[in-house]
Amino acid sequence: MKRFVILGAGTAGTMMANKMDKYLDKSEWEIVVLDRNNTHYYQPGFLFIPFGMYKAKDVVKKKSAYLPKRVNFIVADIGKIDADRNTIIYGDGKELVYDILIVATGTVPSPSETPGYLGDRWYKNIFDFYTFEGAVALSEHFESFKGGKLVVTITELPYKCPIAPLEFVFLADAFFTKKGIRDKVELFFTTPMSGAFTKPIATKMLGALLEEKRINVVTDFYVEGVDEAKNVIRSYDGREVEFDTLVVVPVNLGDELIASSGLGDDMNYVVVDKETLQSTIKPNVFAIGDAANLPTSKAGSVAHFASEVLFENLKAYIAGQPLAHKFDGHANCFIETGFGKATLIDFDYTHEPYPGEYPVAGIGPMTLLGVTRINHWGKLAFKPIYWEFLLKDRKMPVSNRFSMTGKRV
């Protein structure tokens, strides 16, 4: 019996387990999935929790419910990959030998990397919304929030879902407007980038939206730490931004186990070929989702598009053929802009987001780089699609490859 092992049963690991289940012969292959817990969070939903739009039940399910029956699901902390011996070491030193390994352990917000984040103020007036606990704590904080300086800070690049912090300030603007206290809230957005986003056309469009919504943007701001006595964040070049409430996107890092396996880079992301997703160090190891060091967004949509390519390449690898399928870095993100509207961007390794229609040229129904109600419905529709189609690997009506049709340059 050969063994196919997947580390991590989040978005990417679950999708891959469902794909491999349909393909791998039961009499030849055992599929093992390991994760440190059995709680699957719909992470994009964390954005809506602080503003009372989603409740806990919308975002929490059991991981095991989304894995195929034949999968041997082991709940355990994976301590180490010994890639030289094709072995996973987990729990109290238990070992598991694999023939093929997919690493899908994602990326984790690591607030402890920045002095002052995890001090006395944590979850009092300093929050994150990248974790379930953070999002819930913030929703409680906002219930009694009467106004003041609300600062949203990106600490380090890369971090998952690059536009989530922007969506957060847009939704905050709408939320406080509806509460009738927008005039009492000063909104700030600090970023180590020199604009709202990395790609020029989208940065211009999003920058204009920020201005229209009276959100103060502080660029090239690289947080050194929080001065808790003064309630300010300070950058390495000595600038200070004062806050009453601080919402941080902490440094994101791949899991520790990647560091100890010798398969990763200095942010603990698995070093893979950006087209085939195969480890450049060990050919029987692959990585997908946020855990891989791909130069595209760390997002569920990317994991989804990449999963199709990885699946084809795994079939080829098993058959001893060359890995002919190439991932193009396709990413596709809805961006909530508040007041029941959203915009949408679609890009890949080489093309930046352009205006146009998606997925059908000239028709849409979504509008790229436009702010529409239908885009917002698209974002909300993503939750049932995620649980019912994406994770279970049911067919979806979008192509995994980036396409220029429907785009205006």
Partner: protein, 103 residues
């Protein structure tokens, strides 16, 4: 695309002054761009630039954090070497494309 002459070399640059082709770079070119930015280059500057060029050649993303971990300078020191927005300035001086570390 524009052309600029640095230390006798014609270099292809984009509208923000970043190199289109990192092979057109050498130490003298870097010194000439540094001068334009009122900087005097030291060995440390060159060590940082070499590090950045190696990372890019390997297809790896650039972050300020990775420079802080490089063993060459810490982040504060990086700001002192390349004041203002150090990653942008350092990549420009190293003849690299503008860093898109987060996409």
């Amino acid at each position: 695309m524009a052309q600029k002459e640095y230390a006798g070399v014609m270099v292809e640059v984009n509208n923000e002054g970043y190199f289109e082709n990192s092979n057109q770079w050498n130490k003298e070119v870097a010194a000439a761009i540094a001068k334009e930015n009122n900087l005097e280059l030291t060995d440390k500057h060159y060590q940082v630039m070499d590090f950045l060029r190696e990372r890019v050649a390997k297809g790896e993303a650039l972050t300020i954090r990775s420079i802080g971990k490089s063993g060459i300078v810490d982040i504060k020191g990086f700001y002192e070497l390349f004041p203002g927005a150090p990653l942008k300035l350092a990549t420009k001086l190293a003849g690299l494309k503008k860093p898109l570390s987060c996409v």
